[in-house]
């Protein structure tokens, strides 16, 4: 049975990081029980390996790293249960179901559209984008979190922004394809 001291450490972690972690997972995976499972698993991992938690500035990228890994694990598990599709395609399929025209008509909120657009991105681009523009991690911290080189992070961020800029769901919000993006599309 967990001791009170250990539970206290977990409570501190939850108070400080649960909401941003949950929102990060939601941006990465979309709504649903899968998000709750991933976040729960992430915090349980953090608690299990609490002695390995870094202190100071290293804590934030560490926590997001655990959250992102838990999201990836959850997505992979869901993919296996869904029918053993190819990892990348399946990961995208789990979290990026294109809304139907009727659903699009129902989506009036700009935030919802942005979330839909983010979820439509490939999983490999989604995590750097969310960590950069929502969690506020630097490229170096993102590189640590997703275990990629900073140059890779930079190119993925660029690619994610280019895809979002060309996303038609964001066009009517004034964030649609730029002229340069249209030229590239042509």
């Amino acid at each position: 049975m967990a001791t009170d001291t250990n539970s206290g450490e977990l409570e501190e972690l939850l108070q400080r990081w649960y909401t941003p972690a949950h929102r990060t997972a939601t941006l990465l995976l979309g709504d649903g029980a899968q998000v709750d499972d991933a976040v729960q698993e992430a915090f349980l991992r953090l608690w299990r390996f609490r002695d390995a938690l870094p202190e100071g500035d290293g804590l934030r990228p560490w926590i997001y790293r655990v959250v992102v890994n838990a999201c990836y694990s959850s997505a992979r598990t869901e993919t296996r249960h869904a029918g053993r599709r190819a990892p990348q395609e399946a990961l995208d399929a789990v979290v990026s179901s294109d809304p139907t025209p009727d659903e699009l008509a129902d989506v009036r909120d700009r935030a919802s559209l942005v979330r839909q657009a983010i979820l439509s991105l490939p999983a490999g681009l989604r995590a750097p984008l969310v960590l950069r523009y929502y969690a506020g991690l630097s490229e170096k911290e993102i590189a640590t979190a997703i275990r990629r080189r900073p140059g890779t992070v930079k190119s993925r961020l660029h690619e994610a922004r280019r895809l979002l800029a060309n996303d038609p769901r964001l066009a009517h919000l004034g964030l649609g394809p730029s002229s340069s993006g249209q030229e590239e599309a042509k």
């Binding site: 939850l14 649960y18 655990v66 979330r115 983010i118 969310v130 523009y133 800029a165």
Partner: protein, 351 residues
């Protein structure tokens, strides 16, 4: 294209619309429901929860084991190297630095020495003349003392040698005996080994003296004296007066005497070189020591001796196999613990 700040604001706005999560209590409950929570400071528990480190260690150990087995098998297929240096110094008289056999050197109280102080500038490395002597101290029971003396004589005779001196006493202050054997130099080692088997070895020492220079000096002196004698005999033939004849006759007699003395020394040296002297000192156990050992004690000492002999034989015969097994075990343990440490490090990166 929008700026980074605008992009961050947009995504932050989207995130803010996500309802406030309420699952923290469920996480706390799940954590509390976990029994025996693992800790980073509990490496055994970590390995059990994450057996991949153990699997990696086992695979690494298996790979090292396979490599070592392959190396061992390949070494067996190659021509074997000489494991024991054969010490047979007495088989050849041309050996410049005679040594005693390795087997005898491992016995307690065994010493050897080589003396070449008598070598002169006329000695030649091609034909060394060496006198070998040895002293062997044995402990034998008084009931078999006579039998041992007889056996020593039989050994010398069978090897083409002789018994130089022999004495034995069963009572008094000089209980025991001494037998001096003369055996052909080439059979000296065999004589020692056979004599050893007649009792309990207490002490063994051998001495090899290089007399090549001494032999050469004697030969040169004899040659010179013979030449002088020839000249004196020529003078004797031409002597015209009686006093002159007597004087030359005296000189010839003196030279002839010196020649005979030197030739006698040559014969002695040749005999010493041809026949090695082995002095066997026979001692009987002290009365207290003789009466003390019980059957159990004797059996115990015999058992210990046999175990020592068995282990020695096992170590000598197993050779590279035993070494490889020990090496494999050591490397396997290193890989096992190294793998566990590595897995501990890797797991922290995987969290």
């Amino acid at each position: 294209m929008i700026t980074d700040g605008e992009f961050s604001a947009l995504i932050a706005e989207a995130a803010e619309t996500i309802p406030e999560p309420t699952g923290a209590d469920a996480i706390l409950a799940a954590a509390r429901s976990e029994t025996d929570p693992p800790s980073v400071a509990a490496p055994i528990a970590r390995v059990r929860r994450h057996p991949r480190g153990f699997v990696i260690s086992v695979l690494g150990a298996a790979a090292v084991l396979a490599i070592l087995i392959a190396v061992t098998l390949s070494s067996f297929s190659s021509p074997p190297s000489v494991a024991h240096s054969a010490g047979a110094p007495f088989a050849s008289r041309a050996s410049a630095a005679p040594t005693f056999g390795e087997g005898q050197m491992s016995a307690p109280g065994v010493t050897k020495s080589a003396d070449s102080s008598s070598a002169s500038s006329t000695s030649s490395a091609d034909s060394q003349e060496i006198i070998t002597t040895g002293t062997l101290a044995l402990i034998v029971h008084e009931r078999v003392l006579g039998h041992v003396v007889a056996e020593l004589g039989a050994i010398a005779t069978s090897l083409g040698g002789y018994v130089s001196t022999s004495n034995a006493a069963l009572a008094g202050s000089s209980r025991g005996g001494t037998v001096v054997l003369g055996v052909p130099a080439g059979e000296f080692e065999k004589a020692v080994s056979e004599a050893e088997s007649l009792g309990t070895l207490k002490h063994l020492s051998t001495t090899a003296t290089n007399v090549t220079g001494q032999v050469a000096d004697l030969g040169a002196q004899v040659n010179a004296l013979e030449a002088a004698r020839a000249q004196l005999e020529a003078l004797f033939a031409r002597a015209g007066t009686i006093p002159a004849l007597l004087s030359v006759q005296n000189e010839i007699t003196s030279v002839q005497s010196q020649i005979q003395q030197l030739q006698a020394q040559q014969r002695v040296l040749a005999n010493e070189v041809s026949f090695s002297s082995l002095t066997v000192a026979l001692a009987m156990p002290s009365p207290t020591h003789a009466s003390a050992p019980s059957r159990f004690s004797t059996a115990w000492h015999q058992a210990v001796a046999h175990i020592e002999g068995g282990l020695s034989t096992l170590l000598a015969d197993s050779g590279i196999v035993l070494f490889s097994v020990v090496l494999i075990i050591v490397i396997g343990l290193l890989v096992l613990f190294g793998g566990r440490l590595l897995w501990s490090f890797v797991r922290r990166r995987l969290v």
